[in-house]
């Protein structure tokens, strides 16, 4: 029996949903009126409305990318761009409406907050319904709120950084996000402050035919440290929903920012996200990017190493099952001397899924002592699945060292034999090999996420016949 027959896909455990009880929802489709309505609902200042309208114009002008996953079947007129689930954001779980609370209870957010997290944001459709930050961290001057609150309360910071890392002209989906963004996170860490335990945001799509466009901006001042985690799920519908986020990170001199994502969208979500970070002198930015769910994902977290000594690291895990396409990877642009980067990608294709690594390493003209290493490993579980690797390397400097290696394989019979001859059944042996394959990345995740990811992989492998 082939391995694929032994490893059927699990049921998507976050597939439940509650009736759509939004207090306000824009009409289907997108035009200027919808954008004005969103902006008016949020009571935004004029400059933000103008930015949205300008972005909408860009969105109309920009073409779809002519590469990557097939996303031509997205019908922009069939999507709801804004749905407000509650009137007011809450700071206590008790005040969150029951159905929303139950959703997040099932996902396990309040429990996690108690145990592991310094702050939590929970977004339901378009709006952040719950936000909290531990008091001692707030006292140090750390800001962790939704971007709407930031626009109201910290306009100087927002104006200074918003849209500077990813301008609305960057690509079609960044333009769309800039036009209709709603919710997300705003994080500001003052100079020298170390936020030792992670901040977390949780994104949940509940409505059908819905587009979630959260916007995240993280500013880490000189010498600070922050670890931000996001998780995502959605119910299973028969029609497609769209998730198109923009995440901007600024790591000032000596700062370190780590951004971890475990994306576990349901199989009808288009996940088209633009993520980019600027790292200044001696700063470090790390993206840990796990993509397990969604119908099609196109996501390439990137780091611009702007000043000497900056370091970028991207760890990417992709799992594609039936009808899924994960087009993921990473980009690092070396713009200054003595900069270094590492990209590690591990992908698994199963049941006809397509995993693609797409990445770029660029070393600008005259940059001294740039170093980069890219390693891509792919595992194809059955003979229906596909694995692609498209790394791009562009070097214009005589003092750069770039290395790239990639390999594609299946679960090796030798390894299976080794384990089974020691008394493991084939299922446990396969699970162990897959977990071993992902191990170097899983180690980089915070404990509870590592456990979650291991559990997800075990679920995928669970129903195997030994």
């Amino acid at each position: 029996m082939s391995i694929s027959e032994q490893l059927p896909l699990e049921e998507y455990e976050h597939g439940y949903y509650f009736p759509d009880q939004s207090v306000f929802k824009t009409k289907k489709g997108l035009d200027e009126d919808v954008i004005r309505a969103i902006s008016a609902r949020k009571d935004e200042p004029e400059w933000m409305l103008n930015y949205r309208l300008k972005s909408y114009e860009t969105f109309l002008k920009k073409d779809f990318p002519n590469w990557g996953a097939n996303i031509g079947d997205i019908d922009f007129d069939e999507i709801y761009y804004y749905a407000k689930p509650v009137d007011k954001q809450q700071r206590s779980w008790d005040d969150v409406p029951d159905d929303i609370k139950e959703t997040f209870d099932r996902i396990g957010i309040p429990e996690a907050e108690k145990k592991f997290l310094a702050g939590v944001g929970a977004q339901y459709d378009s709006e952040v319904v719950y936000h909290s930050l531990k008091e001692e961290i707030a006292k140090k001057g750390v800001i962790f709120c939704d971007p709407e609150t930031a626009v109201r309360e910290h306009p100087e910071l927002v104006k200074k950084y918003f849209g500077t890392i990813i301008p609305h002209t960057d690509n079609k989906f960044a333009a769309l996000n800039s036009a209709v963004w709603s919710g997300g996170s705003f994080v500001y860490v003052p100079a020298g402050v170390h936020v030792d335990i992670p901040l977390q945001a949780y994104f949940r799509i509940n409505s059908e035919n819905f587009g979630q466009f959260e916007r995240t901006l993280i500013i880490a001042e000189e010498g600070s440290f922050v670890h931000y985690i996001e998780g995502c799920t959605a119910p299973v519908y028969t029609t497609d929903s769209l998730h198109s986020a923009v995440v901007e990170i600024i790591a000032m001199e000596g700062a370190r920012v780590r951004y971890s994502t475990i994306q576990n969208w349901s199989g009808d979500i288009y996940n088209l996200v633009t993520k980019r970070a600027f790292a200044y002198k001696n700063a470090t930015v790390e993206w840990v990017d796990g993509n397990i769910g969604s119908k099609r994902t196109m996501k390439y977290p990137s780091v611009f190493l702007k000043e000497p000594g900056a370091h970028g690291e991207i760890l990417s895990i992709a799992y594609s099952g039936a009808d899924q396409e994960q087009d993921t990877g990473g980009k690092v642009i070396h713009l200054a001397d003595n900069t270094s980067s590492v990209i590690t990608s591990k992908s698994i294709s199963k049941d006809g899924g397509i995993s693609t690594y797409r990445g770029l390493i660029k070393v600008a003209d005259g940059v001294k002592n740039a170093r980069s290493k890219v390693v891509c490993d792919a595992l194809i579980i059955d003979d229906k699945s596909v694995s692609n690797t498209f790394p791009y390397m562009e070097v214009t400097s005589d003092d750069a060292v770039l290395e790239h290696e990639a390999s594609v394989s299946k679960i090796s019979e030798d390894q299976l034999f080794y384990l089974m001859s020691r008394g493991l059944d084939e299922e446990s042996a396969s699970t162990m090999i897959v977990n071993g394959f992902l191990d170097p990345l899983v180690k980089e995740l915070p404990m509870e996420y590592a456990v979650e990811l291991n559990r997800l992989i075990e679920l995928e492998m669970e129903k195997s016949v030994g």
Partner: protein
């Protein structure tokens, strides 16, 4: 291969194919950077006005002198632009080879006619972009070589294509059919004068259990624009070792595709790129595994200096049926100074899980430790640099068969020796 019924004379059949390509050429647009393969070579930046359907000039009977003094060949063919081929045989077995020069038409036996036409039609099926169509719109500078089954040649077949000056469009096309169990080495040398517009094709069909070594080496004058489309078809148990080197000119863009379509076929691709001054060299290779049990390997090395730029795009593509594929791709680039640029894009597209595929790529400057090692032994820094460059490239040349190595090595090595390496 198409099983065509041929009624007309071969030259008439080929003219039909020329006209078809010409019509398609007129309708076709130049490749644009929106196409992935052309993203880094924007034709809008180059003067493409010389790339038009050539006038139907009478072939000149002027025969250029053959420069080759040594007899290290089995057949030497000189094909100068707009002229008939000059052929010299130097090995008895070579007489069994059919050489067909469309600018010097003659009647062929039915079998050769069929093979010549198949080669031309195969090329038309593969080279569909505007430059490929242009190459096939006229066979004025083309040559067909039919190697019969079981023929083994000791010495190589050398085909020298030469453009006298940059006035006319140069279309050096070489079509080779290698029969079952044949063993040959074929060198295509493309010699372009200054400011030549060149669009050439190499189409090689390797029969069952054949053992074929090919090389395309070019000697290109400054300011030339050169496009070369290369296609190899490998049948069962065929072995191919292919080498190409590129340097000089303003732009050289080559595309090499290998279809491994017979079980147990084995293909090895080697390439050397040397880009200096304002040269842009854009090389694409495709290792296309269509059936099971095939092996392929590509090794490409590039050196860039001054404002030179090299682009290497490599792809290993494994089809669903191609289990037990064993495929490798390595690309090493040396960037000698700031401002020179090397792009490396090694890609994989894998649709079967029972495969061994991997690629590796490195880009760096000359290793300072190696320089220290040599300079501490009394060698000057400049000489040390040259020695390291030679060593870097000779690891590719060492993989080639002796005759191909001796023929092609000097072309780039001489350039490197002439150049000062400031490191």
């Amino acid at each position: 291969m198409a099983n065509t019924i041929i009624k007309q004379k071969i030259q008439e059949e080929l003219i039909v194919l020329n006209r078809a390509s010409e019509l398609k050429f007129e309708k076709c647009n130049w490749p644009i950077p929106m196409e992935e393969e052309w993203r880094r070579t924007n034709l809008a930046k180059y003067d493409m006005s010389g790339f038009q359907i050539p006038n139907k000039t009478k072939n000149e009977s002027l025969i250029s002198e053959i420069m080759d003094k040594n007899n290290d060949y089995s057949i030497l063919i000189n094909k100068t632009i707009n002229s008939k081929a000059v052929i010299k045989l130097n090995e008895s077995g070579a007489k069994n080879i059919t050489i067909y020069d469309p600018s010097d038409p003659r009647d062929l036996n039915y079998e050769d006619k069929r093979l010549v036409l198949n080669l031309a039609e195969d090329a038309a099926a593969h080279f569909k972009n505007k430059l490929g169509l242009l190459s096939l719109s006229s066979f004025k500078d083309s040559l067909f070589i039919i190697i019969p089954d079981n023929l083994e040649l000791e010495k190589p077949v050398i085909v020298e294509f030469e453009s006298k000056d940059g006035r006319d469009l140069f279309l050096p096309n070489l079509f080779v059919h290698a029969g079952s169990n044949s063993q040959v080495r074929i060198i295509q040398k493309i010699k372009c004068a200054e400011s030549s517009n060149t669009s050439g094709v190499l189409n090689v069909s390797c029969g069952d259990n054949s053992n074929i070594h090919t090389a395309t080496v070019s000697d290109i004058g400054s300011d030339s624009l050169v496009f070369i489309n290369r296609y190899f078809y490998l049948s069962q148990d065929a072995f191919l070792s292919d080498f190409q080197s590129a340097s000089g000119g303003k732009l050289i863009k080559t595309r090499t595709e290998i279809d491994l379509s017979g079980v147990n076929a084995d293909a090895r691709l080697y390439g050397v790129l040397f880009s200096e001054e304002n040269t842009q060299i854009d090389m694409r290779t495709v290792q296309h595994h269509m059936v099971k049990d095939c092996f392929s390997q590509a090794t490409i090395k590039s050196v860039v200096k001054d404002t030179g730029r090299s682009i290497y795009q490599g792809l290993i593509e494994v089809e669903e049926d191609a289990s037990l594929t064993d495929a490798y791709l390595t690309n090493h680039n040396l960037v000698l100074n700031n401002g020179a640029r090397a792009d490396s894009i090694p890609s994989l597209k894998i649709r079967n899980n029972d495969v061994k595929c991997s690629h590796g790529s490195t880009t760096s400057r000359i290793n300072e430790e190696q320089i220290l090692y040599l300079t501490s032994r009394g060698i000057s820094r400049e000489e040390a640099g040259q020695m390291i460059l030679e060593g870097f490239l000779s690891s590719v040349y060492d993989q080639l068969s002796d005759s191909i190595k001796s023929y092609s090595e000097s072309i780039i090595m001489d350039k490197i020796k002439k150049n000062k390496v400031n490191i």
